[in-house]
């Protein structure tokens, strides 16, 4: 929880970044050959892997939707991804995150194109250093696109927050644990629509709106990197 740590020294963050600076980001697609689509996204030390299977037949039958497909998302932190080993399997946090990530991705997918079928999205966090859910969404969205799932747009996500009264983007682990407030945002940048919005802390309305526009700006940067990662893959003609 909150400790007495200075998170900002002379306007710079502990890892040397400026408040509105993203960490180094890398994105690769098609990293898991068995999956229909997959991606790896790194935000600084945070490493998220996503794979997509489907659209594929959905059983048992009662789960099927007559006129549309369904999306299932599983967010999972691997046991060695954090300081204190996390026991494997879903906990309450990952169940909630799986739900909000599903809702973040769903609006981008033409579900009506695959009635009675399911698209399964699996996100594994190999290393957690803050902003894991947004790294996972970025990876999942790339994996969906690479699986050829029909989509309205990519979903791009980033975290923003407030430390020592300053608004910042892309929280790392220590900032995440000690921030005054934090917010996760996912959007379809091409449509300028929000698909995930979570915030906690203590903010007035104006600060919420300022954080939201900071997130919007940075989601657009992530969007460009996502498109570049897909182009990179198909340019090489593999």
């Amino acid at each position: 929880m909150k400790k007495d740590i200075k998170l900002l020294v002379e306007g710079k963050r502990l890892d040397g970044r400026l408040p509105d600076q993203l960490r180094p980001i890398s994105m690769k697609v098609d990293v898991i050959s068995r999956a229909d689509g997959s991606a790896e996204v790194r935000l600084g030390n945070t490493i998220a892997l996503a794979s997509v299977y489907g659209p594929r037949a959905l059983y048992p039958k009662f789960l099927q939707e007559e006129e549309s497909g369904i999306v299932r998302v599983r967010y999972n932190m691997v046991p060695f991804s954090v300081d204190e080993r996390k026991s494997p399997g879903p906990d309450r946090r990952s169940i909630e995150l799986s739900k909000v990530m599903r809702l973040a991705l769903e609006p981008a997918i033409f579900l009506e194109d695959f009635p009675k079928a399911a698209v399964d999205v699996f996100v594994d966090i190999l290393q957690a250093d803050g902003s894991t859910r947004v790294a996972g969404i970025n990876a999942a969205s790339l994996a969906l696109a690479c699986a050829g799932v029909p989509m309205r747009d990519l979903v791009s996500a980033c975290s923003v927050g407030k430390i020592e009264g300053t608004l910042i983007v892309d929280l790392n682990g220590i900032e995440d644990n000690n921030s005054e407030s934090d917010m996760a945002v996912a959007m379809m940048p091409g449509r300028d629509e929000i698909t995930l919005l979570q915030m906690d802390g203590e903010l007035n309305k104006d600060e919420v709106l300022r954080l939201l526009s900071l997130a919007r700006e940075n989601c657009k940067k992530i969007y460009e990197l996502q498109k570049q990662a897909i182009r990179e893959k198909y340019k090489s003609g593999e």
Partner: protein
């Protein structure tokens, strides 16, 4: 719900009306019954129209978390009892129950309404405050009702007497230190309309919903977007305005 009902509710909303005649920014009748369960250190049953949620606060003694040695512990849990809806099943909590409990947890924790630092008993022992939410009837808008029940139960709760490291039940040393009254207003979007406190039928036709936790000083302590349709950036400001305005009404009821 049948397609016919769904169509009817949607058409009504589009023409600016609600199925029970309420205004878009009007809650159903709200009732708060405090102290119903004497076995609990604090309790409240909240009705929002036909929706009914019971919250109970129990205190236990335990070791503090290693990273917060000078604080008590807050644990919020929700049970969607099969008594409350044909859609609820017995067994471990599903994602909706977990999400609801975690949102209420964040609203209480982030608003700092409960002074956890005042719940230390000794170097080894602190109070663990369990807030259990028990859904009795799901007739729409469980989240606002649950948060209201939780804060009402916390404000109703007393600290039990401790003797030789054990709790003496039914003897108390004071009230639980609750210094703010955060409430949750969920603002819903259907088409181009915003409304609050959806009834069961309305809940089935919502596009999206923004759950907003608001503290006494209008500070926002938690936000969670729900629903499978996206929101526009301009929607968020409108929804926050509605949430802040309506939060005062709810807070007055908690007292």
């Amino acid at each position: 719900m049948s397609d016919l009902q769904e169509k009817y509710v949607l058409e009504l909303l589009e023409s600016g009306k609600r199925i029970d005649g309420r205004k878009f920014d009007e809650y159903r009748e709200i009732k708060i019954e405090r102290g119903l369960v004497q076995k609990a250190e604090g309790s409240a049953v909240v009705s929002l129209g036909k929706t009914k949620v019971a919250a109970g606060v129990k205190l236990e003694i335990g070791e503090p978390f290693p990273d917060t040695p000078n604080e008590g512990i807050l644990i919020v849990n929700a049970e969607f009892s099969p008594i409350a809806s044909p859609e609820f099943e017995a067994g471990p909590p599903g994602e909706d129950a977990i999400e609801l409990a975690r949102i209420v947890d964040r609203v209480i924790r982030e608003s700092k309404c409960l002074q956890l630092e005042k719940l230390v008993i000794s170097q080894q022992n602190v109070f663990i405050v369990f807030v259990d939410l028990h859904i009795i009837n799901d007739h729409g808008n469980l989240i606002d009702a649950s948060a209201l029940a939780a804060i009402a139960a916390l404000k109703n709760a007393r600290i039990p007497k401790v003797e030789n490291g054990k709790i003496v039940r039914e003897e108390f040393t004071g009230n639980l230190p609750v210094i703010f009254t955060p409430v949750v207003v969920s603002v819903c979007k259907v088409g181009n309309n915003f409304l609050i406190d959806p009834d069961l039928l309305e809940e089935n036709v919502l596009d999206s919903r923004l759950v907003v936790g608001v503290r006494d000083d209008d500070k926002i302590c938690a936000i969670q977007k729900q629903g499978s349709k996206p929101l526009k950036f301009s929607d968020v400001e409108k929804m926050l305005d509605i949430a802040i305005a309506k939060s005062k009404e709810l807070r007055r009821l908690v007292g």
